[in-house]
Amino acid sequence: MKWLDDLFERKTRTVAQHSSRRGALIRIGKLMVGTAFVLPVLPFDRTAQAAAGAARKAANAKPGETDCEYWRYCAQDGYLCSCCGGSANTCPPGTEASKVAWIGTCRNPDDGKDYLISYNDCCGKTACGRCLCNTNERERPAYRMGVHNDINWCMANDSTMFHCTLAAVVGVADGQG
């Protein structure tokens, strides 16, 4: 199966930048990127994360990198690397970025553009345990694996241990750049 692994890995890496699959994703994205609604953070927000969210809402502050409601986390599922020693595009020290990722399309409220987001897990240490977020815009069941987030995206790394998830911008959705 090694050949299959390699094939899929290349394909998935390419999805973010070039492949024809991107076109399909963006078409879906264009249909669905709507107004700046805020979805509830589900279903595992009963810990410190929920409390932090409530505090921010009370202060009426704009969501930032450590908030589940931050725009680029629209299809996030996992611990925010921003809360674990990394950032929205940096893995925490001593971990390794996943070789494969799922892809989201999120609208940046600052410029009104839709961006392709690569949700890479950071791998090699046990779960970070801070800022668990679960949002699912344009997320789909695993028969659409490239947009599925109920699976461990460290699965292709030497250590598949899941630590946290980041959300890196990889480009503007077609027709907007």
């Binding site: 199966m1 299959l4 692994d5 094939l7 899929f8 998935t12 399909a24 879906i28 669905m32 709507g34 609604f37 979805l39 509830p40 589900l42 279903p43 595992f44 009963r46 629209c74 299809a75 996992g78 494969v100 090699g124 240490k125 046990t126 779960a127 345990g129 668990l132 679960n134 949002t135 699912n136 815009e137 344009r138 997320e139 789909r140 069941p141 695993a142 028969y143 659409r144 694996m145 109920d150 699976i151 461990n152 995206w153 460290c154 699965m155 292709a156 030497d158 250590s159 598949t160 241990m161 899941f162």
Partner: protein, 384 residues
């Protein structure tokens, strides 16, 4: 000063305890034993929990759904996927272990546990590709005749591992690109179907050595771009039933070499649509086969991305009449399971409060009780 007062109160307590103990018979010395599960019954719940906060150390919670009591645990390792054997006597857990907990040599196995003693009885080594997924029913299934165990693999290329349960060996791997979830046939042991992103089912038939005899793709039966179906299906013999993100019901027949389908229909009326009612959750439907009732976790004000929302209501659907017959408060359900036969009970896992609600199933659902504080991040229940 405070410390002194505390010491004084301790002394008083000790004296009081000593005096009262003297007035009672002494406790007999106790011998320590290991408890046993009550005999198997249809209300025993196996709740699969990846425990994401310490995901290397997942667990299966075993719960008595009749008395609503916590019975025991099975350790499931790293993203372990769980199913019961066809005779319900064994628990199979496909999982990953590293030699140094989070790194080192990866070994994937199917751990075998006795479903009555909860003791580990063996293991079957499999290729290091088991799907490290949240728990869903279709990631590991036994064949209806008990001969085979089918395990979902993902690298993320997708394939299905075939394990011979007679020899306890992994004997084959079937590439199933673009497809996910294992739907064994009831009438043919060596046959399963899997759901593909192009809206078809791929049906794999095996020979008696577990090798692929045929692979046949069905006609397209749903449109993953317009209205994807949820991956969790409910089984009645050779028929699996699904719901879509927008509330259509699909039924697939998987007994033949090529899957066939019944026409789709909607559980929503015009008013429901206007209010944005949609299905949501993980194991979001449960079906009681004899009565033809489908229970669906539903939320209103649905929108793109709301498909994992805990249930605001549980809808009871009459499958023959194709209409809703009851609405029940949803208890934040993200997973539903119903026992079959007489005296059915529906169990709903409350994903917000981490609890199990039990409903007695009659002409309507009546809440029989709740078990609070169970599980961390479970998504799937199986009943004995």
């Amino acid at each position: 000063m405070l410390r002194k007062a505390f010491a004084g109160s301790l002394l008083t307590t000790a004296l009081t305890l000593g005096m009262s103990a003297g007035a009672l018979a002494e406790l007999a010395p106790e011998s320590i034993t290991t408890g046993q599960l009550p005999p198997p019954h249809p209300y025993r719940i196996y709740l699969s929990d990846v425990a994401i906060g310490h995901i290397v150390d997942g667990r299966l919670h075993v719960i008595d759904g009749k008395r609503l009591s916590y019975e025991g645990i099975v350790a499931t390792g790293y993203t372990g996927q769980v199913t019961l054997s066809a005779d319900r006597k064994e628990i199979f857990v496909a999982t990953t272990y590293y030699s140094r907990l989070s790194h080192g040599v990866r070994t994937d196995v199917v751990d075998v546990h006795d479903a009555q003693t909860l003791k580990k009885t063996g293991e079957i080594e499999i290729p290091p590709r088991h799907a490290q997924s949240l728990n869903y029913k279709g990631t590991i299934r036994a064949s209806a005749d008990g001969r085979w165990l089918f395990v979902q693999y993902a690298t993320p290329a997708t394939s299905v591992g075939i394990i011979d349960l007679q020899t306890r060996k992994a004997v084959a791997e079937v590439a199933t690109p673009g497809c996910w979830s294992i739907l064994p046939a009831a009438s043919v042991g060596g046959r399963f179907s899997t759901i593909c992103g192009d809206g078809t089912l791929l049906t794999v038939s095996l020979d008696d050595k577990g090798q692929v005899a045929t692979q046949k793709r069905s006609a397209k039966f749903f449109d993953a771009d317009k209205d994807p179906i949820f991956i969790h299906g409910e089984q009645d013999g050779d028929t699996y039933r699904f719901v879509s993100f927008h509330g259509d019901v699909y039924a697939a027949r998987v007994g033949g070499a090529v899957a066939g389908f019944e026409p789709a229909w909607s559980i929503l009326n015009a008013a429901d649509r206007k209010q944005g009612w949609r299905p949501g959750g993980y194991q979001l439907i449960a079906q009681h086969n004899a009565s033809g009732r489908l229970y669906v976790g539903m939320h209103d004000k649905g929108m793109e991305g709301s498909h994992k929302t805990p249930a605001k209501e549980i809808w009871t659907i009459d499958l023959a009449a194709q209409k809703r017959v009851a609405r029940t408060p949803g208890t934040n359900a993200i997973a539903l399971a119903v026992s079959q036969g007489e005296g059915a009970r529906l169990f709903a896992y409350d994903g917000v409060k981490a609890a199990i609600a039990a409903f007695d199933v009659g002409s309507k659902l009546s809440l029989a009780g709740r078990l609070e504080h169970v599980g961390e991040t479970p998504t799937q229940m199986e009943l004995h």
